[in-house]
């Protein structure tokens, strides 16, 4: 196992970044909102941190903070027009937002357009990535025990009853979306600084779909599940490399199996309640 990871340090870094992305989506899912804008938030932060590093000479910490704050601020603005949307309508609107972000990245001159943005300092090593993951995990550990997490869970279960006990549902939804965007922003900044080169295509719908798959497989409202789902679905394509062109089939098969036989995800396997 260790030898496997030693050979695949790039893969280990990817797992950490994907785990952050899964955690970010699980935050907005916690309040019951299927908002599929995580890839866009990641992209916004990736470009802010890349441009900050190359054009303004910021260090990694400055880049990550600026990227995360930019993603969070965009999420707060996005929360206004999508505040009344629910379910698939929210999903479609946020996918649309993701496309807008991608098209802006393709056409703006400061992002380098479709060719991508390169020469990003390659300074986000495994330690930085897992340090950020540990920090985020700790923050979520305390979040999960907070009254705000209970308010989010109540909002997910029944918005009307949540209002009936005095929960400001609009605020809960806005803050979980923004909190998720900040985490996606950290992932985006680390991604930019771990890859030297980014393109708008890195943050399109396929990425969003992957993040959603991590959460569905892990269990949509569990932090540990999200991390486990991200790890499993990042490693799997490497493990089944021998299947060559058919290896994508395994991801689909696992997703189908989880939805059919363990709809609460792998998190439910170690957290069975009455």
């Amino acid at each position: 196992m260790l030898a496997f990871f030693a050979q695949h340090s790039k893969l280990v870094d990817q797992i950490g970044i994907n785990a952050l992305l899964a955690l970010s989506l699980s935050l907005s899912l916690r309040a019951g909102q299927l908002a599929l804008a995580q890839a866009a938030f990641m992209g916004i932060a990736a470009y802010v941190s890349a441009i900050g590093a190359v054009n303004a000479g910021w260090n990694l910490v400055e880049c990550a903070l600026a990227g995360a704050l930019a993603a969070g601020a965009v999420a707060l603005l996005l929360a206004l027009p999508i505040g009344r949307l629910r379910g698939v309508f929210l999903a479609i609107a946020t996918i649309g937002f993701g496309e807008i972000a991608r098209i802006v990245e393709v056409n703006a001159s400061i992002t380098g357009g479709a060719e991508g943005f390169s020469n990003i300092p390659n300074d986000a090593n495994t330690l930085w990535i897992y340090g950020t993951l540990a920090l985020t995990g700790t923050a979520l550990f305390f979040f999960n025990r907070s009254k705000f997490a209970l308010a989010a869970a109540a909002t997910r279960e029944d918005e009307n009853a949540a209002r009936g006990v005095g929960i400001d549902v609009a605020r809960v939804r806005m803050l979980t979306l923004a909190g998720g965007a900040v985490v996606a922003g950290l992932a985006g900044a680390l991604y930019a600084h771990a890859n030297f080169f980014i393109t708008p295509g890195d943050f399109g719908f396929p990425r969003m779909e992957q993040i959603l798959v991590y959460c569905v497989i892990g269990g949509v409202t569990s932090s540990l599940g999200a991390v486990a789902g991200a790890a499993l679905m990042t490693i799997l394509p490497e493990v089944v490399r021998f299947l060559q062109d058919y290896r994508e089939v395994t991801s689909g098969a696992i997703l189908l199996g989880i939805i059919l036989f363990a709809p609460d995800g792998i998190a439910a396997l170690w957290k069975r309640r009455s």
Binding site: L150, D158, G164
Partner: protein
Amino acid sequence: MSGARGRELAVEGVSVRYGGVAALDEVSLQVAPGAVVGLIGPNGAGKTTLINAVTGVVRPAQGRIALGGTQLERLPQYRVARCGIARTYQNIRLFGALSVGENVRAGAIARPGRLSDTEARALLARAAMHEADLARRAGSLPYGEQRRLEIARALAAQPAVLLLDEPAAGMNPAETHELREVIRAIAAGGTGVLLVEHDMSLVSAVCDSVVVLNFGEVIATGTPTEVARNPAVIEAYLGTSEA
């Protein structure tokens, strides 16, 4: 925010319209601290609409709703709840995937601090849910217990006024009998109770006064015995002999 009791709920001339239909037409009633007021009427009379108007779910077209000195009729639903009005639902609306304990804690979410397990158990006991398993998933409880858990969740807010929307629906006679004691004890603690109910034996047993609605209008008010003898009430429920 304040859960302080001792404030009267006053509904004055409240009308609610859905399109051209008047669901409530200039309805007035009061619920004094510690009083149990029954709200009865045939199906579609506007009972639940009145509860929805008081809790801010629907906005009245006219009229005033006040709790103590606070005007409620323009406040959003969650602010009304924080002013001290709690409710249960005709169709149970628990947080089904959350535990019994989390449901009770959610009821107290607008109050400062956090409920201990002992406090949660005490609230459940006040709703006649004894020896409850706090870790059990609320959605997996039997129906009658779900109703009681909803009452405990509402009590957790320490409301000035509690609105019970058909709490006895689906309860067996023994459970309904227990519910009488629950409602009496809540009122004895100083909370005003507005009870929407079809079970007339429960209404007669616990209500100090009764308001009868029909087609969105108040057709009678008085003690349970008075309204039961009122010809307009009998007509609303049974129709006239010529009909």
